[in-house]
Structure formats: C-alpha cells, structure tokens
Symmetry: C2
Subunit: 175 residues, 2 copies
DNA sequence: CCTCATCGTTTGCATGATGCAAAATAGGTC
DNA sequence: GACCTATTTTGCATCATGCAAACGATGAGG
C-alpha cells in the first residue's frame, strides 16, 4: 500500500530499500537457524526460548516466565517440568511467598544459551569481517538509522546480548 | 571467538557492527511477528509455513512439500489434512502418476499468504519511508554488501517476495 | 502375465507444545 | 473463621513432530 500510493520516483526508492532489507533479513534468519541447530538435539525450540528467558530475567516465578514467553502458564508449567527432568532448570520455593516458585537455569542450561549466543555472534562477526572497513562503518550508520526509524532501542551492552534468538524460517529450507 | 582473537582496534570495529546487526535483526523479527499476528487466528504457524511453501512452489506432491518444509512426510500429511478441512489447500491426483498427489492453495489460502506478505512489506516500507533519502541509499548499499559477504543471493524480483517469513521470536515478547 | 523392488502416501504410536477450565494451595482481609 | 485473590497444578482437547510399518501404484524382468 504505502508504495503504491506514490509517484514512480519515490516509489522505486523505497521499494529498492525494502527489497534489500528483506534480503538481509533472510540472511539473518539463516544465521540464527544455523546457530540454533547445535542446541536442537538437546532441547526443542520452545524449550530453548524458555532457557533464553530464564537467562535474561534470572530467577522468576512461573507466571512471569509464561508471560515473558507469551504462553499460557500451564504450557510453561509442563515445559519447565521437562527442563527440570533434563537438569537444565531448577525449581525452588520463594521463602518470602510460599505459593510462588523460583525458576533458575542450572549451569548446564546456562551453557546451552551461551553456546548458541556465542555461535550466532561469531557467525555475524565472521560475515562482517569479510566486508571492507569502509563498508562496516557505513553499515553501522545505516542500520542505526533503520533501527531508529523502526523505533527499536539501540540495545546497549545489556549483558550477553540476547535478541531475536530462536526463530524458525519457513522459506529457509527451500533455499 | 572471532573477535576475541584480535588486538583491540579491529575487535571493537567488528563488534560495533555486530551489535548494530543484532539490533536491526531484533527489529526485523518484531516486524515479521506483527505481520504474522493477523493470520494466526486462521492458521497455526507451521500451517502458515506450509501455505508459503505451496504459494512459492505451486503444485507439488506431498514428499516435495515435506522436503521444502524440512519435516517428515507424515507430519506434512496431517498438516495438509487440516488445511484441506479449512479449505485453504486442495489435494488432487496427478493424472500422469496416480500414486502422487497434487497439492495447491485454494483462493482462500492464497489470500492469507498475500495478506501477510503485503503487511510485512508495508511495515518495512513505512520504516524506510521515515528515513531521509540519503540514509536510504546508504542502507541499500550497506545491506547489499552485508548480504554479499554473507553469501545471500540478492533475491531479484522473484515473484511475490517471500523470504524469511514465519518465525517466532523468544525475546520479542519480553520487550 | 506375474513377481518384485521401489516410490509415494497413509496410518499407528509416542512425545512435546498449546490453551482453556477447573482444582488445589497459600496469602491476606474483615 | 469466612471470603477473596494469586499461583501453581491437573484434566482435557488439539496440533506438530518423527519413526516405523502398512498400503497402493509403477515399472522392470522374467
């Protein structure tokens, strides 16, 4: 819609950028999928997402974890059961409020998240390293402008950089 | 790994770009998630992925669809059953080879894919439209260089532009 | 023609993810 | 102590998933 409603000049402009964004998007998804692949024989994708949530938000109770994940508490409940059985998550009782549980990653669970995260960072860094320095600077500026236009907080070094991690791409398989 | 093994100068450079890429990545996932939301009360996410496959690859048989989706034929089988029940996909018999089926989108199925695709394009176009023209050009160049460094084919106008469409973001919900 | 290996589809079985609704449990109020 | 609320847990139903086996159609040799 947005592009169709304009004279040809501005249209082609926005359209070209959109196409470039979509292509880059495809690459990013492919990178993430590869990073994830390593962990997929230990946990399912939803389980990994739960690990990410616990990794970024530390000790939380069940409803909070469910909210952060955007799923029903009952779903989170059974997922946690399985993760505990796999020794990736621990469940304790909040001494201040005995009706709440306290969920936390075990060292094993922490390590899985770190491994995938590191792998993804490395893959992106490797791609970036193949660009010439001038392109790198330009990319930072361009992406920063894009993220700002899209209203995405620039995500400063907030810990171990966990972001859009844990997706599935429908078309990546067809590539 | 890749960054840790270098002196500080080059490291910070690559690191800054990596961070920018990850931020942009998060935005792109958020955009896709929003585009998908509209369709999620009609089909599940795996079902939508199947629709995308059928939309891009036209009439295919079951094993092909399963391969494109990266799932077991039995999984694809039952998914197709449900999509047929919802009148989003049709199943016929290949007259040339009666042991093969021919799967195709119904008009309804086609429309769902088109709606989500259009919504996503529009959202990205809207973001791009908020950037100043100079930034837009720079973004195209930068992303093109990035995609090339990552070995992603620049995806020319190959039809209705279907790409990384249909993911799930573990951290998007926590934003 | 009949038989057999093969390919594509389908079904059986088991596990995980998911949501809604209801039960059980713990905390706080009057 | 009765009552309301928040949290966890369980019951039930549906979808997604893979592996293995059964079924059905093709095509090649005999």
């Amino acid at each position: 819609m947005a592009e169709r409603a304009r004279p040809a000049g501005a249209t082609d402009d926005v359209d070209a950028v959109t196409r470039a964004v979509l292509t880059a998007s495809r690459l990013l998804v492919a990178v993430s999928a590869r990073s994830l692949a390593a962990a997929e024989d230990r946990v399912t994708l939803p389980q990994f997402r739960m690990l990410v949530v616990l990794s970024t938000h530390g000790a939380v109770n069940l409803v909070t974890a469910a909210d952060l994940l955007g799923v029903n508490p009952s779903t989170a409940m059974r997922m946690i059961d399985r993760l505990i059985a796999a020794d990736l998550v621990s469940r304790g009782v909040n001494p201040a409020n005995r009706r709440e549980t306290v969920l936390q990653l075990t060292p094993d669970g922490q390590r899985i998240v770190e491994d995938v995260t590191a792998r993804r960072r490395d893959e992106i860094a490797a791609i970036v390293a193949r660009m010439i320095p001038g392109q790198r600077e330009a990319l930072v500026d361009a992406l920063t402008a894009f993220a700002e236009a899209g209203g995405e907080p620039a995500a400063p070094g907030r810990g171990p950089d966990l972001y859009p991690l844990g997706w599935v791409d429908p078309t990546a398989s067809s590539a």
